[in-house]
Symmetry: C2
Subunit: 182 residues, 2 copies
């Protein structure tokens, strides 16, 4: 099965690294993965988009054409990419007001607020990664932990594991509440 992720937000949020770690975790779990970062006019505007495609089979086309999971951390990203979703799940930060014109299944998750409580906004991407990993179930939690540890700077391991687990917890709450608006 092919599963597509689109991670969107602002340039400083480190979503490229989140995409890389997700792809590398899939490999550790013996799947195939392609990670893509597209730059263009929108990148110059300060926005950011990374994509990951994961499959048990070979991946012919490396871009997400119809994402199963859209992460949107800013209102701009939500409006731009939310409109393109007709299926899949939109995971939008709870700081963003929902738009009734965007009709795909949506869950609003306090990613930025949780990161602020951790106290280091630099781990926003890792909290988000935990949410994506938890909601999709595409890789084992312990594999995602290992992949995070492979990529983060020395001395930041504890902080990043804390961020990842906070993301797992947000995913579990989202699923428990069943708060997937349609």
């Amino acid at each position: 099965m092919r599963t597509e992720f689109r991670l969107s937000g602002s340039g400083g949020q480190g979503l490229l690294l989140a995409g890389i770690v997700l792809a590398e975790a899939a490999i550790l779990d013996d799947k195939n993965a392609v990670q893509t970062q597209s730059y263009g006019p929108e990148a110059r505007g300060g926005s950011s988009k990374a994509e990951v495609v994961i499959s048990e089979l070979d991946i012919d086309y490396p871009k997400a054409t119809d994402p199963d999971y859209l992460l949107a951390l800013t209102a701009d990203a939500y409006r731009t990419y939310g409109k393109l979703q007709d299926k899949g799940l939109i995971i939008v930060d709870s700081s963003v007001a929902l738009d009734p014109a965007i009709t795909a299944r949506t869950t609003s998750v306090p990613i930025l607020e949780t990161t602020a409580k951790i106290g280091k906004m630099i781990v926003t991407n890792i909290v988000a990664l935990g949410v994506l990993g938890g909601l999709s179930g595409i890789v084992k939690p312990e594999t995602l932990e290992k992949a995070v540890l492979n990529r983060v700077p020395k001395g930041t391991e504890e902080l990043n594991l804390k961020a990842l687990r906070a993301g797992f917890e947000l995913a579990a709450q989202s699923q428990k509440n069943g708060e997937h608006h349609t």
Copy 2:
């Protein structure tokens, strides 16, 4: 014009970062860029491949289909991807023996040897980036420097600039010698 780069070598050589920096430099020079990292069975074998496509126009297909520049830092990478080249330039590390069955235009460049002289093998990717930037002329040297500084860890700026400039120098020597075997 669409220009395609394929960066291949072993897993520890940091070619993904080189691809990211090349793509980001292209953006700073007002071009469009897509950077792709594919993982699969070959990634589990310890090899690594990153691709960058740069264009003034929109980029429809994000993968390199017929690379203009193939960087190969290991014999495995050279054999695997060199065979696929029918046009373009192969930039192979001078530690790798040339294979007469690989007929595309080829320049042999002492990237690993130069990196060893600098004394930190971790900057192999930045030396290679300087070679690619210099030979392709796709971005301004000062833009590539800026893009490198945007991405490398604090405290390593001087080391990385030295590595990049060593790469520029290798590119200039390669062009001067005209040592492009066919």
